[in-house]
């Protein structure tokens, strides 16, 4: 038997202190199999040891919340007995190593988290971050990630309806691939993972177990260095065909009442799924690995327990229901096996080839996992506004910004995703939020993922607030009532006090915004150690929000629809240029304060706009975010090539007015006959409002002097991505 040396302990990502703690908890030294199990269960990815203490501060409850964090995904009530189940998860490290399979298996993993709970997935979203466009790896990574997401999601027949993508050198060595899945279930048919009771069969179904991605969970929790490329662990390959069968078979099994508990096998597969089920159910689990369907010969207990083979599930059934379940999986041509039994020992006991390969108290793996109050330092937020040339012509800058990497159209990406399958997509990618109908009703869900990492870098707390506020605003802009969120906290190495400070401040900001906007967090994921050679990524706490439209026929979209509509700006424009796209793209400066986030104003303005949409008085709405007001108006003009003539309504500085990134703002376009009344109502509610001009013609003109053809702007906007990707296979 292998002797456990300090080097082996270190290779398992465990510190000497953690190893000592394992010895204490077991009352003896672990064997190799047990060490492997502890290493994955105590990894950052599974235990949240650096963030758990801070995540507790997030608001997670509300009348709309059925299930908050702690299960495979969050569940909210959307009325009429319908529940919406959703979560976001990262697959950053695997996607950097093998972009197609990394992204594909990320999509597969998050879908399993959602259908494990009894939901049929109805929409996928993603939040992606890539390195500098001119970095030699970027194109290859973009191509691989996008086709991987499409390859898996398209085959599953679940529409991928939106997402966000940024490019920045801080991600050149650590791309981010966060995928979000939204599903629908009935509130009275939701499945949890608590394996309650002793003597119940533990069953395995799905694909066979191979030596895939052993140590993926520890990899997801370690920094890269230049040597990582050599010692790459086996990459998992996704099989969307198997997953589609698994989805249908699982839902079919769920239509019976045979299931006591169910849990997908994600990171650290068999180990974490069985430990979590035992832990939540307060029971013990005994597994016989000889019964596990295996793809390769001579697999060891260590390999089977740590394998991350995809498309597998574990469930506890009511005794005597095995045959019924087996028949379902036979029909779907999937493997099925009874591999164990629940016990009353609260221990995880693993048998293999007639011997006990591991025997551990389950609480040692879960509750007793270390929680760290890591030291942190809070950095002084960046402040001030950098100097800029006030005389630059607005329209030339506008064209340049619309054709820049971060602002260009993402059509090249979303056309590779089937966004209309299931035939419930009422708002496809390209708007503020995706809108997907609740099948067979007139209700719809609105979904958006958001974060502005450059704000988070400048001021992590404000950046965290802004991410939530922007997500809430995007849902509001289509007319939805924001209900709840999931988050994916992507940061660098938490053992560095400065990075830990970013995490603490961002969570603080997120929590404050979620509370103020009544937008609780019901699920989420953390991805730490996103560093290469000591360089961390920009803090990137992605927020995925879900909202409800009670009557989707009232939904607003961004496109200008009629000639002669009045273009109205809701919200105050102060001309905030710190950390703006304008400064970065035109002046080459990434400096200054992040924009102020005033949550009370955010709420007031948003509630006002939403009411107008719900009342059927506004069908054209767009929030103002990256790039500022001029960009927002042109984005409304481009879809139908219908222009606008607008003028500067306040503040003397044209650059600040057209490109400032002040928050809590919306542009709406309404028929002339209604404009006056809406403006008066806004004023009466003490909301800052301004009439900017009118829609019409085929160009964008400001202050009656300068004008530029919408077609020209559209060319700049549409051409960047295809040109950028042209040379890539």
């Amino acid at each position: 038997m292998t002797e456990i040396t300090p080097a082996i302990v270190a290779e398992h990502g465990l510190s000497p202190d953690e190893y000592a703690r394992i010895n204490t908890l077991l009352g003896r030294a672990p064997n190799m199999v047990e060490l492997g199990v502890f290493s994955v269960m105590w990894s950052e990815h599974c235990s949240y040891k650096s963030t758990r203490a801070h995540l507790r501060k997030l608001p997670t409850t509300g009348p709309q919340v059925i299930q908050g964090p702690g299960e495979n995904a969050g569940v909210i009530d959307i009325g009429d007995g319908d529940a919406c189940i959703f979560k976001m998860e990262s697959h950053n490290h695997p996607s950097f190593i093998e972009p197609y399979q990394g992204a594909a298996t990320g999509v597969g993993g998050i879908m399993r988290d959602v259908f494990t709970m009894g939901a049929r997935p109805i929409a996928m979203m993603n939040a992606l971050r890539f390195g500098a466009p001119d970095h030699p790896k970027t194109r290859h990574l973009v191509a691989g990630v996008v086709s991987g997401i499409g390859g898996y999601g398209n085959c599953m027949g679940v529409p991928t309806v939106g997402g966000e993508v940024n490019f920045h050198p801080s991600y050149s060595g650590n791309i981010l691939v966060n995928a979000m899945c939204v599903g629908l279930a009935r509130t009275d048919n939701i499945f949890l993972s608590a394996a309650k009771g002793a003597g119940n069969p533990v069953v395995y179904f799905g694909s066979k177990t191979g030596r895939d991605g052993i140590h993926g969970a520890t990899m997801a929790s370690a920094e890269f260095d230049d040597a990582s490329e050599e010692k790459r662990p086996t990459v998992q390959v996704g099989d969307p065909f198997a997953e589609k069968l698994l989805l249908e078979a699982t839902l079919e099994l769920m239509a019976t009442d045979a299931i006591i508990a169910i849990q997908d096998m994600g990171a650290a597969g068999l180990t974490s799924s069985s430990a979590e089920m035992g832990d939540k159910g307060g029971s013990g689990i005994e597994l016989n690995l000889d019964m596990v369907p295996q793809r390769e010969a001579n697999m060891t207990a260590y390999e089977m327990l740590l394998s991350e083979s995809q498309e597998r599930m574990l469930a506890v059934l009511k005794p005597g229901r095995e045959a019924e379940a087996q028949a379902i999986f036979k029909k779907w041509e999937l493997d099925f096996a009874v591999i164990g039994i629940t016990t009353d020992t609260k221990r995880l006991v693993i048998k293999h080839k007639g011997v006990v390969a591991a025997d551990m108290p389950i609480t040692a793996l879960s509750d007793e996992a270390p929680v760290y109050e890591r030291p942190y330092t809070l950095r002084e937020p960046a402040s001030g506004t950098p100097a800029y040339d006030k005389a630059r012509p607005v329209l030339a800058s506008l064209e340049k910004i619309l054709g820049s990497a971060d602002m260009a159209s993402r059509r090249w990406i979303w056309e590779q995703y089937d966004h209309s399958v299931m035939n419930d997509t009422q708002q496809a990618p390209g708007g503020d939020a995706a809108v997907v109908r609740v099948h067979g009703t007139k209700k719809a869900l609105a979904i958006s993922t958001d974060v502005t990492p450059r704000y988070c870098k400048a001021d992590p707390r404000r950046g965290g607030m802004q991410a939530v506020a922007e997500c809430w605003r995007n849902l509001t802009a289509v007319g939805a009532t924001p209900l709840a969120t999931t988050d994916n906290l992507n940061f660098g190495n938490p053992q560095k006090p400065d990075i830990m400070g970013e995490i603490v401040a961002a969570i603080d900001g997120i929590g404050e915004a979620c509370r103020a906007l009544d937008f609780p967090i019901v699920s989420g994921n953390c991805s730490l150690y996103n560093e290469t050679n000591g360089e961390g990524i920009f803090p990137t706490p992605a927020i995925g929000g879900v909202g409800l439209l009670k009557d989707a026929s009232k939904m607003a979209t961004i496109a200008f629809k009629r000639d002669g509509d009045v273009v109205i700006l809701i919200g105050e424009t102060r001309g905030h240029l710190g950390q703006s796209i304008y400064l970065r793209e035109i002046e080459g400066k990434e400096e200054g304060a992040a924009p102020r986030v005033e949550l009370d104003v955010e709420k007031k303005n948003g509630d006002f706009v939403r009411r107008l949409i719900e009342q059927g008085r506004v069908d054209t709405c767009h929030d103002v975010s990256d790039g500022g007001l001029a960009v927002a108006i042109v984005e409304m003009a481009m879809p139908r090539g219908l222009g606008a003539q607008v003028g500067q309504a306040s503040i003397a500085d044209a650059i600040g007015f057209w490109f400032g990134e002040d928050q809590a703002r919306y542009v709406i376009a309404v028929p002339f006959a209604q404009a006056e009344k809406i403006v008066a109502e806004a004023r009466a509610a003490s909301i800052t409002v301004a009439e900017l001009g009118k829609t019409g013609g085929d160009s964008f003109s400001i202050d009656g002097k300068d004008s530029i053809a919408i077609a020209k702007l559209r060319t700049a906007h549409e051409d960047w991505f295809p040109n950028f990707m042209k040379a890539e296979l």
């Binding site: 399979q101 694909s207 030596r211 895939d212 990459v235 998992q236 390959v237 996704g238 793809r295």
Partner: protein, 79 residues
Amino acid sequence: MKARVFVTLKNGVLDPQGKAIGHALNGLGFPQVGEVRQGKLIELEIAGSDADKARADIKAMCEKLLANTVIEKYEIELK
């Protein structure tokens, strides 16, 4: 010169396509078919007549583009 490059998944890497093909063949009345693996065959025309150089060049092409060496291995055949 003509060359053929065979790109296949490394041993142990799941091959969903091969699995599905094997399953289908068994179902079509070929029970004698065991494991099936699917790979790529790339046929190249190469200018020049130095076989050693061609082989070295193709190796470079495989490493750079033709194979995804994280999960795939390759074999070169010159003729």
